[in-house]
């Protein structure tokens, strides 16, 4: 986007700073609150990252940042030598990869199905219903997960018992926890994420389908030779964007569902950062782990954006 902005600016006559100020001083005034907000709430905390390289005592306030002892990379060493590093990175990656593999194609399939049916009212109804979970807060979604998987009275275990099975405590079991996360994510996002693909499909010329029918194409021919090629650019863009998010396994969702008995498969970098930082008050250590994650995440986003451009896509900026 910055690139587009530059070419746009080159196309119009470029103003000098002085003339820009004289002509647009009111616009600059309008920007003041926004710039101050970004500096205060986004950039000032970045200065606080230095505590990752310090031994910052909690409750020491701002002075603490200036007075604390520097310890170099000790906090990072501590993290990578602990048993947590491997487990947290593995869980974060595995959970988000599982979500990617299941949820990403699901939205595309949903969009294809919605695009295939002729009934407009039916289509609208299905869309309205499938977008609904997107509007529910993560707390509500996770509460619903807790109540429907509950071992006393939850609908899923009632069904299992009706078929003669033993009730399963899904969110308390290392075997099932990640699957619960994936299904929850699927339930919450499948409808909403299909919107972009449906939007791309509305741009397909209906004559293409008619021509395919005349040529004797079957429904799967139409999907593979008309629909999918038409949405391929947006699909690859969305895929690349998701890859940039690989370290985000869904902090709130995990936080709201996990418990110490499933840390083995459920604990991710963000939940660990929260526990170490705001519960155990190891501010410096927590910030170091957080910084490690932020840097890797930034590299992933920049890398995926780079690939998007390599593939001839627009990228996010």
């Amino acid at each position: 986007m910055a690139r587009m902005a530059k070419s746009g600016a080159a196309a119009v006559s470029r103003l000098t700073w002085r003339r820009s100020f004289r002509k647009y001083w009111m616009l600059y005034c309008m920007l003041i609150p926004g710039v101050l907000w970004y500096l205060l709430f986004k950039y000032l905390p970045m200065g606080g990252i230095v505590i990752a390289f310090q031994k910052y005592p909690p409750f020491s306030g701002l002075q603490g940042i200036f007075n604390s002892k520097w310890v170099g990379l000790k906090n990072f060493e501590k993290f990578f030598k602990s048993v947590y590093a491997a487990r947290l990175i593995r869980n974060s990656l595995v959970i988000s990869l599982k979500k990617l593999v299941v949820c990403f194609p699901a939205s595309i399939i949903l969009a294809i199905l919605l695009n295939a049916i002729p009934g407009v009212r039916y289509k609208k109804t299905i869309q309205t219903v499938s977008y609904l979970p997107h509007f529910l807060s993560t707390v509500v979604v996770c509460s619903i997960v807790r109540t429907v998987t509950s071992t006393d009275g939850g609908i899923i275990n009632v069904i299992i018992k009706a078929f003669g099975g033993e009730p399963i405590f899904f969110i308390g079991s290392n075997d099932y926890f990640q699957s619960v996360l994936v299904v929850t994510e699927l339930w919450k996002t499948i409808g909403w994420n299909s919107i972009v693909y449906l939007a791309a499909m509305t741009g397909i010329d209906p004559e293409l389908y008619e021509a395919a029918t005349v040529d004797g194409a079957d429904w799967y021919h139409k999907i593979f030779h008309v629909t999918l090629p038409a949405i391929a650019p947006i699909v690859s863009l969305m895929f690349i964007l998701r890859c940039g998010e690989l370290l985000n396994a869904g902090f709130e969702q995990v936080f709201l569902l996990y418990s110490p008995s499933v840390y083995q498969t459920a604990d991710i970098i963000d939940t660990y950062v929260y526990r170490e930082g705001l519960v155990n008050l190891n501010y410096s250590y927590s910030t170091a782990v957080n910084l490690f994650k932020s840097v890797v995440a930034m590299v992933l986003v920049l890398g995926s954006n780079f690939f998007a451009k390599k593939l001839g896509q627009e990228g996010i900026w």
Binding site: M26, L27, Y38, I144, T147, V196, W219, V273
Partner: protein, 294 residues
């Protein structure tokens, strides 16, 4: 469907069935929670934990919830955060997005770069916490509002909306001697009302649904937002529910814990469900614009 072959008809029928299944799977958990919230403890004692359709609709768990002061303070806090937050967010977003939509403005690329960077790199939990603490915002409603005022994604979306407005519209007003502030107020805002409504709803829903800020910044029970109250009801064991004043001594009138939890979910979700039919199409429009131009 005249010209379609047999296998395609089959496919379309399958599509109908699959979509119906998806809708059912989406809606059943919600309905099951709503129904469970109306089952009386007497009926559970008689018929067992799971009841598909109650014989009598019982509202004692709702009565119990609405008897606690915490629920009202929760609603009040969340309403404050949602209304004040959305209003301030919109002001900040519009004031930032409008100048950034002007191609000729010097320094625009640098400012955009500064904004973009915050999308890909975040200071992290503890530095943000220290900032809010040092600003003396801990345990105030403002801690739930101020750090979340400007959402960069929404701001850029707003900017794209402004971008799409033809320049000619402004030129005319400019020649009539209007200044940029007047142009924004009298020309730009009226023509972009639908987009403003869209972004305002993005903010409104996210303020209403916010939960983690309450975990980080609020310990005073009178200031806890509704989402956090609901959360603590959901994870509580029966004993803790008593501490919250949610259980009473008279066992016969006591709602079942599961029922009470389901009622808590309904109570905190109902406002969103009420506005959902009205805001849905705006949201979809916002996503579409974002996907085309983002």
């Amino acid at each position: 469907m005249k010209n379609v072959g047999r296998s395609e008809k089959c496919f379309i029928i399958c599509a109908y069935i699959l979509l119906a299944l998806l809708a059912i799977v989406t809606i059943v958990p919600l309905i099951s929670v709503v129904i469970s919230s109306f089952v009386s403890s007497a009926e559970i004692a008689r018929r067992g934990q799971f009841i598909l359709w109650p014989e009598e609709w019982d509202v004692s768990s709702y009565a119990m919830l609405f008897r606690t002061d915490r629920l009202y303070s929760g609603y009040a806090n969340t309403l404050f955060v949602t209304i004040v937050g959305t209003a301030l967010s919109m002001m900040l977003t519009i004031l930032t997005a409008y100048p950034l939509s002007k191609k000729q403005l010097r320094g625009r690329s640098a400012l955009l770069g500064m904004v973009f960077f915050t999308m890909i790199f975040n200071a992290g939990m503890v530095p943000n916490y220290i900032l809010v603490k040092e600003l003396k915002l801990l345990n105030t409603r403002w801690a739930l509002v101020l750090p979340y005022l400007c959402n960069t994604w929404n701001m850029l979306l707003m900017r794209n909306f402004f971008y799409a407005i033809p320049d000619a519209l402004e030129e005319a007003a400019y020649l009539d001697g209007a200044n940029q502030f007047q142009i924004l107020l009298k020309i730009i805002l009226p023509v972009s009302l639908p987009s403003i409504a869209t972004i305002a709803m993005f903010y409104g829903v996210s303020f209403w649904n916010a939960w983690f800020p309450g975990v980080m910044y609020i310990t005073d029970t009178r200031l806890v937002p509704i989402q956090n109250i609901m959360r603590s009801i959901i994870i509580s064991a029966t004993g803790q529910l008593e501490d919250m004043g949610l259980m009473i001594d008279d066992v016969r009138q006591q709602p079942n814990a599961h029922t009470l939890k389901c009622a808590a979910v309904v109570v905190s979700t109902l406002p969103i469900l009420c506005v959902y039919p009205f805001i849905q199409k705006y949201f979809v429009k916002g996503v579409m614009v974002g996907s085309v131009k983002g």
